[in-house]
C-alpha cells in the first residue's frame, strides 16, 4: 500500500537526481511508509529543503557538476580517461537483529549487590524501572530511594525512573546499566521494562514487568526472574508453551513448582539470565559502481562492488534505445549468471577474499545505453536505490547527439567535458534547463523529448491504478455503496429489531474498552473519550467500561464502597462525561458490575474483615457462610466462592434490594445502558434475572468462566458439558443476560494452535461453542483483560488473533473485540471485518453453514452472504448463483461477501 505521502517521496526522488548535493541530508530519509500525521510534521522540513534547492536551477546545476568533478578527480585520477561512470550508492538494509537481554545480580560487598541489565543489540536503550517495598501489596511501583538511582536517571511521575543504558566499551556492542542495591533499605523487589527509544519498542517479560525479588516472600505472579522459568520477551511468547490446557489456577501452580531457586533460597543469590530479543535495525552499506569504456574492445566494463555481507545477487538488465526498460543483453554473461523468468539476468557476486563484501564485473556491449539492476540479499530481501533501480548510464553516441541537439548544446557539452563526462548526474538538471529555455523562447515543439517519457507515463498510470485500488479497498470497507437501490434493499432487509437485554438489538458489536493496565494512568476515562469517534466509526455499538467503584485493587475488581465511583480510572464526573460522549456517538455503555464479592471496611471483634461501610453498611449477614475466612453469617453460597474477598450472600432480601437499588442508581446517575457481570459463577443466575428485571438493561453479559474438559492433557473434542454449564446459567437468568462464550475461545485455542480445525464443527455440524446452541445469548470473544493484556492467564494463540476475529466477527453471537487488539497492528484488519459485519448486517442469530472443517481449514457460509475460512488450507466458496468477492483477507484467513 502506498501510503507514503507525496512530499517525502518527492524528497527521495530529489535525492536521487541530485544525489551529490544531498548526501548530507540523508538522515531525513525515512525508509518505512509514513502515515499522515508524521507526513504533516515532516512537511515543513521537506519544503524548506525543496525551497533551497529549487530557488535557482542554474546554481543547482553548476554546483552539481562541480561537486561531481571533484569527486572523480580525487578518487579516480589515474583512470579518469576511461571511467565513464562512477558512483557510490548508499543503501540501507533493514535487518532483523537477534540478540539477547540479560539480567545479572551479583554481590559486590556483603550488603551491597549490583543488578545489571544489558542488551547485546545496539539501540537507544532505556531502563524503565521502579521498586516495590516490603509490605506493598498489589502491583504498584514506587520510586526507588535516591541512592539507588544511577547517574542520568530521570524520574517519571512518582512511580518510576528511567535510566539509559550505556555502551560497555567502544567496539563492544553490549549496552548495560548497573544499579547498586542497598539492601538495608526496605526494597522488596525491583521492577522494570526495557525500552528502545530508537524504535519505541518495549520489552517485557512474559507480557509483564520484569521483577527481581530481593526478599523471599515476593508474591510470584509468573514474572519473577532469577527463578528459573521460561523466559521470553513480548513478541517471543510463541516460544513459550502456554499452558492452554489448564485453567489459570493450575498454570500458576505449575509455574510455581517449576521455579526451583529464588523463592526457596534463604537470602539472595547471584544469578544471570538472558532472553532472546529481536529488533529491526537499519544497516548502512554502500554499493559502488564503476563503468569504464574499454578502448580496445569498445566494451563497457561495469564493476559492482559492495560491502553488503553474505551472498549478493544482482538482478540486472540493460537499457537500449533510450528507454529504461529492462532488456536481456546478448551473451556472454558473467560467471554465475542465470536467466530469471525471461525478464532479467541473475548474477551472483563473488565474495571478496577478505570477506568484507562482494564484487562482480560485467562486460557489456559498447552500444548499450545503460545497466539497470537491483540487489537481492537473501530470500525476499531486495535492495534498490532510494526506491528505484540502480542505473548505470554509459556514454554512447546517441546521448551526445542529444546534447548537441539541445538548445544550448554547446554550453552543456562544454560542461560535460569539463566534468569528465559525468552525464548521468547532470542529465536531469540539464534536461530541466533545456525545457525552461524551450518554454521561455516559446518553443512549442517537443523535438527534444524522449521516448522514455512513455515509461514515465506508464509509471504514472500504474501509480494511479494502485492509488485508486487502495482508495477503493478502504472506501469499500467503510461505506456502503451509495447507489439508491442498494440502500433501499438494505433497508428492506433489516429484520425487526427486538431489544432484549441479553441481545440488545441483535446487531451489537462489543468493544472491551480497557485492559489490565488501564488504571495506571489515572485518567483512563478521559483517554477513552478521545477514542469515542474512532470506535464509533469502526462500527462498535456497545462499549464495556471497567468497574467504576472504589476498589482495593487498582483494576477495580475488589469493590469496597459501591456508591463511591471515583476509581483509578478517573472520577465520577469523568465517568459520566465519558458515558455521555459515547452516547453522543451512538455507542451504548456497559458498566462492569462486580456483584459476587465486596471488600469490607472494618474488622469485626475477631479481627476479621467483614463489616461494610459507606452507604451500604452491611454486616456479616451479607456474607456467605461457607467461606471460613470471612466468618459470614448469611446462607451458604449459591455458587462458587471467590476467596480473595467476602462473597456476598445474594439470598438475603436486603442485599438484593440494595443491589437492585444500586444498579438503578448507576443507570440513572452514570447513564449506563447495561451490564457486564463479573464472576457470575459465584451466585445463582436466578438472582441475576432479578437484578436485570429491576434495572432493565439494554444489554447484559455475564462472565461464567470455568475450565473446558481435557483428557490426558488433550482437549476433548466434545465440549458440550462446558457449554451446557454456561447455557444453564443463562437459562437461570431466563435469558435476561447473555454470557461470554468461553467454550468457543477454548476450542479456537486448540484448533488454531494445533492445526486441528476439525474441532470447529460439533457432531451436528454446528459451531461447537455456546454460539452453536444459543447464539443470541453468546458473547463471543478471543481475549479480555484477564486472559490477555498483561495478565495473560489464558492468552489466545499468539499471532493467530486475526483468525479468531475472522471467526467471531463473521459468526452469529455478539462479538466482543478486545481493546488491545483494536489499537494494535491488527487495527485495519479488524476494522475491515467490523465493517463487513455491519455492511452485511450479520447479527447474533445469523445462520451459519459449515462448509468445511478439516485438519487445516475451517470454512463456513453465514446467512448466504458471507463466506469465511480460517486455517492454512485451501477453500473457495462454491461457485453457483452467487458472486463471491473477497472482502477481507489476511494471514491464514479469508472472508468473502456476495456482491
Amino acid at each position: 500500500m502506498s501510503t507514503v505521502p507525496i512530499e517525502s517521496l518527492l524528497h527521495h526522488s530529489h535525492l536521487r537526481h541530485n544525489s551529490r548535493i544531498y548526501r548530507g541530508t540523508r538522515s531525513f530519509f525515512i525508509p518505512c511508509s509514513l502515515n499522515l500525521p508524521s507526513h504533516f510534521t515532516s512537511n515543513k522540513l521537506l519544503h524548506s529543503i525543496r525551497t533551497s534547492v529549487g530557488a535557482s536551477s542554474k546554481h543547482k546545476r553548476s554546483v552539481a557538476i562541480r561537486a561531481s568533478s571533484s569527486d572523480t578527480a580525487v578518487v579516480e585520477t589515474a583512470q579518469s580517461d576511461d571511467v565513464i561512470f562512477k558512483e557510490n550508492f548508499p543503501v540501507q538494509r533493514i535487518e532483523k537483529a537477534e540478540g539477547k537481554i540479560y539480567v545479572r545480580l551479583k554481590q559486590v560487598k556483603e550488603n551491597n549487590w549490583e543488578l545489571s541489565v544489558g542488551s547485546s543489540i545496539p539501540g537507544k536503550w532505556i531502563l524503565h524501572w521502579g521498586v516495590s517495598y516490603v509490605g506493598d501489596t498489589g502491583s504498584e511501583w514506587d520510586q526507588p530511594p535516591e541512592d539507588m538511582r544511577p547517574p542520568g536517571s530521570i524520574a517519571i511521575k512518582d512511580y518510576a525512573i528511567e535510566t539509559p543504558l550505556k555502551k560497555l566499551s567502544e567496539g563492544d556492542s553490549f549496552f548495560e546499566v548497573a544499579i547498586n542495591l542497598n539492601l538495608e533499605s526496605s526494597v522488596a523487589a525491583l521492577n522494570f521494562v526495557l525500552k528502545d527509544e530508537e524504535t519505541g519498542a518495549w520489552y517485557q517479560h512474559k507480557g509483564r514487568d520484569f521483577k527481581v525479588p530481593l526478599v523471599d516472600d515476593v508474591p510470584d505472579n509468573g514474572n519473577l526472574i532469577g527463578a528459573k522459568k521460561g523466559f521470553g520477551a513480548i513478541g517471543q511468547l510463541a516460544n513459550i508453551p502456554l499452558e492452554q490446557d489448564k485453567s489459570s489456577g493450575e498454570v500458576q501452580k505449575k509455574s510455581e513448582s517449576s521455579s526451583d531457586s529464588t523463592k526457596e533460597r534463604k537470602g539472595l543469590q547471584e544469578f544471570y539470565e538472558e532472553m532472546p530479543i529481536s529488533k529491526r535495525v537499519a544497516d548502512d552499506n554502500s554499493v559502488s559502481v564503476t563503468a569504464r569504456k574499454c578502448s580496445e574492445t569498445s566494451k563497457n566494463i561495469v564493476s559492482i562492488e559492495t560491502d553488503l555481507p553474505g551472498d549478493v545477487t544482482v538482478h540486472w538488465g540493460v537499457c537500449k534505445n533510450g528507454s529504461k526498460k529492462w532488456e536481456i543483453p546478448s551473451e556472454p554473461y558473467p560467471e554465475d549468471t542465470s536467466l530469471f523468468k525471461n525478464k532479467a539476468l541473475r548474477t551472483r557476486l563473488q565474495r571478496k577474499d577478505d570477506g568484507s563484501g562482494s564484487f562482480g564485473l560485467f562486460s557489456l556491449d559498447g552500444k548499450l545505453e545503460g545497466l539497470c539492476f537491483v540487489l537481492k540479499l537473501h530470500e525476499n530481501t531486495w535492495l534498490n536505490y532510494r526506491g528505484e533501480d540502480f542505473y548505470v548510464p554509459f556514454l554512447t553516441s546517441s546521448s551526445s547527439v542529444v546534447e548537441t541537439e539541445a538548445t544550448e548544446a554547446a554550453q552543456v557539452s562544454k560542461h560535460s567535458k569539463k566534468t569528465d563526462k559525468e552525464v548521468s548526474a547532470s542529465g536531469f538538471t540539464d534536461e530541466i534547463i533545456t525545457e525552461i529555455r524551450n518554454l521561455a523562447n516559446d518553443i512549442h515543439s517537443h523535438k527534444n523529448q524522449k521516448t522514455n517519457v512513455k515509461e514515465v507515463q506508464e509509471n504514472i498510470l500504474q501509480e494511479i491504478e494502485k492509488l485508486a485500488a487502495e482508495a477503493y479497498s478502504i472506501f469499500r470497507s467503510t461505506t456502503p455503496s451509495f447507489s439508491e437501490e442498494s440502500i433501499l434493499e438494505a433497508e428492506a432487509e433489516k429484520p425487526d429489531i427486538k431489544i432484549s437485554s441479553g441481545t440488545g438489538s441483535g446487531f451489537e458489536i462489543l468493544c472491551q474498552g480497557f485492559n489490565w493496565e488501564s488504571n495506571k494512568s489515572g485518567r483512563w476515562y478521559l483517554e477513552l473519550q478521545e477514542k469515542a469517534d474512532e470506535l464509533a466509526s469502526l462500527g462498535f455499538t456497545v462499549l464495556w467500561l471497567p468497574p467504576p467503584t472504589e476498589s482495593v485493587s487498582p483494576e477495580g475488581y475488589m469493590p469496597k464502597d459501591l456508591y463511591n465511583l471515583n476509581s483509578r480510572y478517573g472520577t465520577i464526573d469523568e465517568l459520566k462525561d465519558t458515558v455521555k460522549k459515547f452516547h453522543k456517538v451512538g455507542i451504548k455503555v456497559l458498566g462492569d458490575a462486580v456483584l459476587n464479592h465486596r471488600c469490607a471496611h472494618f474488622k469485626n471483634q475477631n479481627g476479621v474483615w467483614n463489616l461494610f461501610g459507606g452507604r451500604l453498611n452491611w454486616d456479616d449477614r451479607a456474607i456467605v457462610a461457607d467461606d471460613p475466612h470471612f466468618q459470614g453469617r448469611g446462607n451458604k453460597s449459591s455458587g462458587d466462592n471467590f476467596h480473595a474477598a467476602p462473597n456476598i450472600d445474594h439470598s438475603q432480601d436486603f442485599v438484593r434490594k440494595d443491589i437492585k437499588e444500586w444498579l438503578c442508581w448507576m443507570m440513572e446517575e452514570v447513564g449506563y445502558d447495561g451490564w457486564r457481570l463479573d464472576f457470575v459463577r459465584g451466585f445463582w443466575g436466578g438472582y441475576v434475572k432479578d437484578y436485570m428485571d429491576a434495572s432493565k438493561p439494554y444489554f447484559a453479559v455475564g462472565e461464567y468462566w470455568d475450565s473446558l474438559s481435557y483428557t490426558y492433557g488433550e482437549m476433548d473434542y466434545n465440549q458440550d458439558a462446558h457449554r451446557q454449564r454456561i447455557v444453564d446459567w443463562i437459562n437461570a437468568t431466563s435469558g435476561a443476560a447473555g454470557a461470554f462464550d468461553v467454550t468457543t475461545k477454548g476450542i479456537l485455542h486448540t484448533a488454531l494452535q494445533k492445526c486441528e480445525y476439525w474441532r470447529l464443527s460439533d457432531p451436528k455440524g454446528k459451531p461447537p461453542g455456546v454460539v452453536g446452541w444459543w447464539p443470541s445469548r453468546a458473547v463471543t470473544f478471543i481475549e479480555n483483560h484477564d486472559t490477555g493484556s498483561t495478565q495473560g492467564h489464558w492468552r489466545f494463540p499468539e499471532g493467530k488473533e486475526m483468525q479468531g476475529y475472522a471467526y467471531i466477527l463473521t459468526h452469529p453471537g455478539t462479538p466482543a473485540v478486545f481493546f488491545d487488539h483494536i489499537f494494535s497492528d491488527y487495527h485495519p484488519e479488524i476494522a475491515a471485518l467490523l465493517s463487513l459485519r455491519n455492511r452485511q448486517k450479520l447479527h447474533c442469530r445469523s445462520e451459519v453453514n459449515i462448509d468445511k472443517s478439516e485438519r487445516d481449514v475451517y470454512a463456513a457460509i453465514i446467512d448466504d452472504k458471507v463466506a469465511m475460512k480460517i486455517g492454512p488450507g485451501h477453500y473457495e466458496p462454491p461457485n453457483g448463483s452467487k458472486n463471491w468477492s473477497v472482502a477481507v483477507e489476511g494471514r491464514d484467513y479469508k472472508v468473502w461477501e456476495t456482491s
Binding site: S57, V423, E431, Q449, T451, K454, E455, N459, K466, A468
Partner: protein, 534 residues
C-alpha cells in the same frame, strides 16, 4: 522484509508528481519548467494510458497558468473556440467526508484517492460542507476543524477546492440540520416544509421562514450570513488560491427546489406541492386576499395527484387541467415566486458576504426531467418552476443568478433520453438544453454535474454536453468519490472519460513531435517490479 523493491512504484509517483510540484513551486517566477516538462508528455499516443497522463499534466499546467492571471479563473468563462481543454474537471468528495463529530472519515482513502485524481489530471475537488456539522451544537458556535483538515490535504496534494455550503441535511449518509435547529423544529414544526398530509421535510427549512426570526430571534438568512462570514474567516488562507469556487445550498439536496418528492424515493409520480407549513399557508392566505380571491388562499390545490400516482391520474396536471386555469396560475405564480425570492435572498447574502475575495459563487438547479414531455411538466411545477406567461420557466431564476453574478450548476449532464424509461415521459436532454439556453440569454455561466448514480452511456453523454459550443461549460464536477467511484469497473470508465476529454485538446504541434533517442535520467525500468511480482 522492509527493504525491497516494493518501494519502487512509490518512487515513481514522486517522479511524476515532481513535475507538478516543480510547477506549483516555481509558479510566479518561472512557471516555465513545469510546462515544458509536462509538454513532454504529448508525443506519444500509442496507448490510451499515455494520453491520460499527457492530458493531466498539460491541464494542471493550464490551471496554474490561469490562476496567475489577474482575473479570477472562473470569470474567463467564454472560451473563444470551444475545446475541452478549457473544461476543468472536479470530483466531489463523499458527503460524509467530515463526520458530525468533525472527524475526517476514511482519511486514508481520501488521501490516496486525491493523489490518484491529481495524477490523472483532475484539477480540483468539491467538498460539501454541512451546516449541521459545522454549527451543530449551538447557534454561532462553528467548528471548522474537520473541513479545514480536508482543505489542507487538498492543498497539499496540489488540487483546487470548490466548497459547497450546504444548508440542508442528507438522508444517505444521515446528516441533519444543526441539533439546535432540530430542537427548535420540535417545538415549532412550522419551520419545515410540510406536505398536505402534514409530513415535515426536516432536511431543509421552509422558504417561507427565510426572513422570519424563528432561530432564537434570528432569521435563517441572518444565520446563513453568519455561517458564510465564519467560513470566510476560517478559510481565509485558502481563499482564492486553493478555494476557487463556493456553491451556496439553495434548498433540499442543495438544489433550488421544493422537496416535492419528500421521502418518496421512487419518484414515480410528479411529486407534491409543499406549501402546508404554517408560514407558507399564512403567506398564501395573504396573497390570496391581496389578489381578491380569499377562498383560494385556504390551502394548496385539492386535485393534485399523490406522490406515487401518475400525473394524469387526477385533474390538476392534465391538459386543460387546473394548472392552466386561473386558479392554477394564481397558485403556481405564488408558489414559484417563493422559490425565486429564496434564491435571490441566499445569493444576495452570499455575494455580500464573499464580495471582494475573487472567488466565484455558484448555485445549483435540479434537472427535473421526469414528465418533461407532458405539457404541464408537473415535476417542475411541484418543485417550484413555473412561468405565468407560459414561456420560459427558468427565466426568473436565471435573472436572479445573473443579478448576483452567480454561476449555475446543472446536474444530470450524463443523462440521455434514450436511457429513460418511456413511461416516465422524461427528456433530460431537452430540459438541459432549455436551461442552458436560458442561461446563455442572461449571460449566466454554466457548470456541469452528473447525476449521483452512474447511468449507462453517462460518460459519453457528458463529453457531448461539454463539447456543446453553444454554452461554454468550463467546469464539470463529477459526483462523487467513494467506493463505487474507485471500483475497478467504474474507475476504468472514469479514466477513459478523462482521456476522451483530452482527445479534443491535442493541437497540431502535439502530434508532430519527433521521436528521438535520448537518455533522460528520469524514469526507471519496469524490471524490478515485475521481478517481484513474478
Amino acid at each position: 522484509m522492509e527493504v525491497s523493491v516494493i518501494g519502487n512504484p512509490q518512487a515513481r509517483i514522486c517522479r511524476a508528481e515532481l513535475a507538478y510540484r516543480e510547477l506549483g513551486f516555481r509558479f510566479g517566477s518561472e512557471v516555465i519548467s513545469g510546462e515544458s516538462r509536462n509538454r513532454v508528455s504529448f508525443c506519444n499516443q500509442s496507448s490510451k494510458w499515455k494520453e491520460i497522463a499527457i492530458r493531466c499534466s498539460h491541464r494542471s499546467v493550464k490551471c496554474e497558468a490561469i490562476v496567475s492571471d489577474d482575473a479570477p479563473p472562473f470569470l474567463n468563462s467564454t472560451p473563444k473556440s470551444k475545446s475541452l481543454e478549457s473544461v476543468k474537471l472536479f470530483v466531489g468528495l463523499p458527503l460524509d467526508t467530515v463526520s458530525d463529530c468533525n472527524n475526517v472519515n476514511h482519511l486514508k482513502a481520501i488521501t490516496a484517492g486525491l493523489k490518484a485524481l491529481k495524477l490523472l489530471g483532475v484539477q480540483g475537488i468539491e467538498l460539501p460542507i454541512f451546516w449541521g456539522v459545522v454549527e451543530k451544537e449551538a447557534a454561532g458556535r462553528y467548528e471548522w476543524s474537520g473541513y479545514l483538515a480536508v482543505a489542507e490535504i487538498v492543498k497539499k496534494v496540489g488540487l483546487k477546492l470548490h466548497v459547497s455550503l450546504s444548508f440542508h441535511g442528507s438522508k444517505h449518509p444521515e446528516i441533519g440540520l444543526p441539533d439546535w435547529v432540530a430542537k427548535i423544529g420540535e417545538a415549532e414544526p412550522g419551520i419545515y416544509f410540510t406536505d398536505r398530509y402534514g409530513q415535515q421535510y426536516k432536511d431543509c427549512l421552509s422558504f417561507a421562514v427565510d426572513d422570519v426570526p424563528v432561530l432564537h430571534g434570528k432569521t435563517p438568512m441572518e444565520v446563513y450570513r453568519g455561517f458564510c462570514d465564519s467560513f470566510k474567516s476560517a478559510f481565509s488562507d485558502y481563499m482564492g488560491n486553493t478555494i476557487t469556487g463556493i456553491t451556496l445550498g439553495l434548498g433540499p439536496d442543495g438544489e433550488l427546489k421544493y422537496p416535492s418528492h419528500q421521502h418518496n424515493v421512487k419518484r414515480s409520480g410528479a411529486g407534491e406541492f409543499q406549501c402546508y407549513d404554517k408560514h407558507m399557508l399564512t403567506a398564501l392566505k395573504a396573497y390570496a386576499e391581496s389578489t381578491g380571491n380569499p377562498l383560494w388562499g385556504l390551502g394548496g390545490p385539492h386535485d393534485a395527484p399523490a406522490y406515487d400516482h401518475q400525473p394524469n391520474s387526477s385533474t390538476f396536471f392534465s391538459d386543460g387541467g387546473s394548472w392552466e386555469s386561473q386558479y392554477g396560475n394564481f397558485f403556481l405564480s405564488w408558489y414559484s415566486s417563493l422559490l425565486t425570492s429564496h434564491a435571490d435572498r441566499v445569493l444576495s447574502v452570499a455575494s455580500s458576504a464573499f464580495s471582494g475575495i475573487g472567488v466565484p459563487l455558484c448555485g445549483k438547479l435540479p434537472l427535473l426531467h421526469q414528465w418533461h414531455k407532458l405539457r404541464s411538466q408537473p415535476s417542475e411545477l411541484t418543485a417550484g418552476f413555473y412561468s405565468s406567461n407560459g414561456q420560459d420557466r427558468y427565466e426568473a431564476i436565471t435573472e436572479i443568478f445573473a443579478k448576483n453574478s452567480c454561476r449555475m450548476i446543472i446536474p444530470g449532464m450524463d443523462l440521455s433520453d434514450e436511457h429513460q424509461s418511456p413511461e416516465s415521459l422524461s427528456s433530460p436532454e431537452s430540459l438541459l438544453a432549455h436551461i442552458k439556453t436560458s442561461c446563455k440569454k442572461q449571460g449566466v455561466v454554466v457548470s456541469g454535474q452528473n447525476s449521483s448514480t452512474p447511468v449507462p452511456g453517462g460518460f459519453e453523454r457528458i463529453v457531448e454536453n461539454l463539447k456543446d459550443e453553444n454554452v461554454g461549460i468550463d467546469l464539470f464536477t463529477y459526483q462523487r468519490m467513494g467506493a463505487l467511484f474507485f471500483s475497478p469497473e467504474h474507475f476504468h470508465a472514469f479514466t477513459v472519460f478523462v482521456r476522451n476529454l483530452s482527445r479534443f485538446e491535442l493541437s497540431s504541434d502535439d502530434k508532430a513531435a519527433d521521436v528521438e533517442d535520448e537518455t533522460v535520467s528520469i524514469g526507471s525500468g519496469t524490471g524490478a517490479p515485475s521481478l517481484q511480482t513474478a
